[in-house]
C-alpha cells in the first residue's frame, strides 16, 4: 500500500445551468487533495471551496458511494467512470492520479440521456425500457409455489445473476461510440431468459424492450466491445449475443 499523500490538480469540468442552457468547460484548481480520497470526495472538497467563495457548486449525481446504486456517472479523462476498470466513479480513488494532473470531467453524452444540470443527466430512458418488459408478470401473493419446487441449473442461475448484477449506471451507453444501450438491455433480457420463471414471456419481453430501446434514440451496436471493458460490473458481451438470439427467435415466432 502506498501511503496517502496530498496532490494538487487542475480540473476541467462541464458546467451547464440547466437542460436548455448552453454549457461549457470551466477550469478549476484544487490543492491538497488526499490520494486516499475517493473521486467524489475530491468533488465534495471542490464544492465546499466553491460554496465558501459564494460560488455555485458543481451538480453531480451520487448516492450510495459504494458502487452499487448506479447513480454516479461522470466521463473522466475520456473514459466512463475514469481510468480504473471494473469500478464506478464513487469507488475511483485519487491515488490513480498524480500531482499536477489536469482532469477532464464531463457528463454522460447521449441523446437518450439529456443533461439536466452540470454533470447530472436524465437516465429515465433506462426505466422506460425496464417498464416495457423487464419483469416477470407475477402478482404478489402468499400462494406462489415453494421456492425450491423448480430446481434451476447452477450454471444458468449463476449466469443469470451475473447479468442481473447490472447497476443501470449507463456507462455502457456513455462509452459506446454509437451511444448504444445493448449491454444494458442484453443483461436484462438475459437475466430472465436464463431462468424458467422468465422463459414464459421471453418472446414478448425481448421484442418490447428492444422496441422501447430503439424509440429512446440509443444508437446501434457495432460490437466494439467498449461497453464490456468499461462496465463497472463486468457484464459480458455474451449477454448481447444472447439478446440477438432471443430477438431473432422471437421475430421468427412472433
Amino acid at each position: 500500500m502506498s501511503a496517502a499523500k496530498n496532490i494538487n490538480i487542475n480540473l476541467k469540468i462541464w458546467r451547464q445551468k440547466n437542460a436548455k442552457a448552453k454549457g461549457s468547460m470551466e477550469t478549476y484548481k484544487l490543492d491538497n487533495v488526499s490520494t486516499a480520497s475517493s473521486f467524489l470526495e475530491m468533488l465534495d472538497q471542490l464544492n465546499e471551496e466553491l460554496v465558501n467563495e459564494k460560488k455555485e457548486p458543481v451538480a453531480f449525481d451520487h448516492d450510495c458511494r459504494e458502487g452499487i446504486c448506479g447513480m454516479c456517472s461522470l466521463y473522466i479523462n475520456g473514459r466512463a467512470h475514469g481510468p480504473d476498470t471494473g469500478t464506478t466513479t464513487c469507488q475511483l480513488h485519487m491515488r490513480k492520479f498524480n500531482d499536477g494532473d489536469t482532469i477532464f470531467i464531463e457528463p454522460w453524452r447521449s441523446k437518450a440521456f439529456p443533461v439536466v444540470k452540470d454533470l447530472v443527466v436524465d437516465r429515465s430512458s433506462f426505466d422506460r425500457i425496464q417498464q416495457a418488459g423487464g419483469f416477470v408478470s407475477v402478482n404478489t401473493s402468499g400462494n406462489t409455489i415453494d421456492a425450491n419446487a423448480t430446481p434451476i441449473n447452477k450454471g444458468d442461475a449463476d449466469k443469470s445473476f451475473e447479468a442481473a448484477a447490472c447497476i443501470g449506471c449507463g456507462a455502457c451507453v456513455a462509452t459506446c461510440k454509437n451511444g448504444s444501450a445493448m449491454l444494458f438491455v442484453g443483461a436484462k433480457v438475459s437475466q430472465y431468459a436464463l431462468l424458467p420463471q422468465g422463459k414464459v414471456e421471453a418472446t414478448e419481453r425481448v421484442l418490447n424492450m428492444v422496441r422501447q430501446m430503439d424509440e429512446e434514440g440509443f444508437g446501434n451496436c457495432t460490437n466494439t466491445g467498449a461497453c464490456e471493458v468499461e462496465c463497472p460490473k463486468g457484464i459480458s458481451l455474451e449477454n448481447i449475443a444472447r439478446m440477438n438470439r432471443e430477438y431473432l427467435s422471437a421475430s421468427l415466432k412472433g
Partner: protein, 221 residues
C-alpha cells in the same frame, strides 16, 4: 408487433449487416482462391476465369446477388453510422476510445469507405472492361485472355500501391467484421474463442494474400 417494425429494429439491421458481411466474406474467399491460381498456374487461372465469366448461373444469378449484397452492405453501413452519430448530438471534449476498443472496431466506416473507393477502381479496372467486352462490344470468347489482362494491370506502381493500401484497410475491416458478424447473429458460446482466432487469421491471410498477388505480378512483369 408488426413484422415491419421488427425488420426496422436496431437488431434486425445489425443482423442484416452481419449476414451481408458474412456473404461478402465468402465471396472474398473464393475470389482469393481463384486469384491465387494466377501465381502458380496461368492456365488454371484462365480456365476458372473463363468458367466464371461465361457460366449463366454465375453471371445471371450469383453476380446480381453479389452486387445487391455489396450495395446493401454499404448503404446499411452508412445509414447505421449516421444514426449512431445522431445518438450522441454533443460529443465529448475528451474521448479515449483506444482505452477500451480497437481502432479497427471504431473505424469501420473509414475502412469500409476505403474499400468502397477501391471497389470503384477495381470495377473500373476489371469489371467495366469485362462487361463492355462481353455484353456491349460482344467480342468473341477468348478463354486465355484473363491472365494477361490481370498481369498488365499491375504494371503501374501507383495502382499496385493503391491496391495494397486498400487491402490493408480491408484487413482492418475484416479484423473487426468477421468476429463482429458472428456476435451479431447471436453466436457467442464455447466455440467463440476458436472462431475469434479463425477470424483474425482470415483478416490477415486473405488481404495479405491479395497484396502478395498484386506485388507478385508487379515485380514479375
Amino acid at each position: 408487433m408488426a413484422k415491419s417494425t421488427m425488420l426496422k429494429s436496431s437488431i434486425a439491421k445489425k443482423v442484416a449487416m452481419a449476414l451481408s458481411g458474412l456473404f461478402l466474406m465468402l465471396f472474398l474467399a473464393q475470389h482469393f482462391f481463384i486469384n491465387m491460381t494466377s501465381v502458380f498456374s496461368p492456365d488454371t487461372f484462365n480456365s476458372i476465369s473463363h468458367f466464371m465469366g461465361n457460366n449463366p448461373l454465375v453471371q445471371y444469378v450469383i453476380q446480381p446477388i453479389l452486387i445487391v449484397g455489396v450495395i446493401f452492405h454499404f448503404i446499411m453501413g452508412f445509414t447505421l453510422d449516421l444514426k449512431n452519430r445522431n445518438a450522441r448530438p454533443v460529443s465529448y471534449v475528451k474521448f479515449d476510445g483506444a482505452a477500451n476498443s480497437s481502432w479497427a472496431s471504431r473505424n469501420m466506416i473509414i475502412s469500409g469507405s476505403v474499400v468502397l473507393a477501391f471497389l470503384g477502381l477495381h470495377f473500373y479496372d476489371f469489371w467495366f472492361p469485362e462487361m463492355i467486352y462481353k455484353y456491349v462490344d460482344v467480342n468473341a470468347l477468348e478463354p486465355t485472355r484473363y491472365f494477361h489482362e490481370l498481369a498488365e494491370k499491375f504494371e503501374s506502381p501507383v495502382r499496385t500501391g493503391l491496391y495494397c493500401f486498400s487491402f490493408l484497410l480491408l484487413s482492418l475491416h475484416l479484423w473487426h467484421g468477421f468476429n463482429s458478424s458472428f456476435q451479431s447473429v447471436g453466436a457467442n458460446n464455447k466455440f467463440t474463442k476458436a472462431s475469434h482466432k479463425f477470424g483474425y487469421a482470415f483478416a490477415i491471410v486473405i488481404p495479405f494474400g491479395f497484396i502478395f498477388i498484386a506485388l507478385f505480378h508487379h515485380f514479375n512483369h
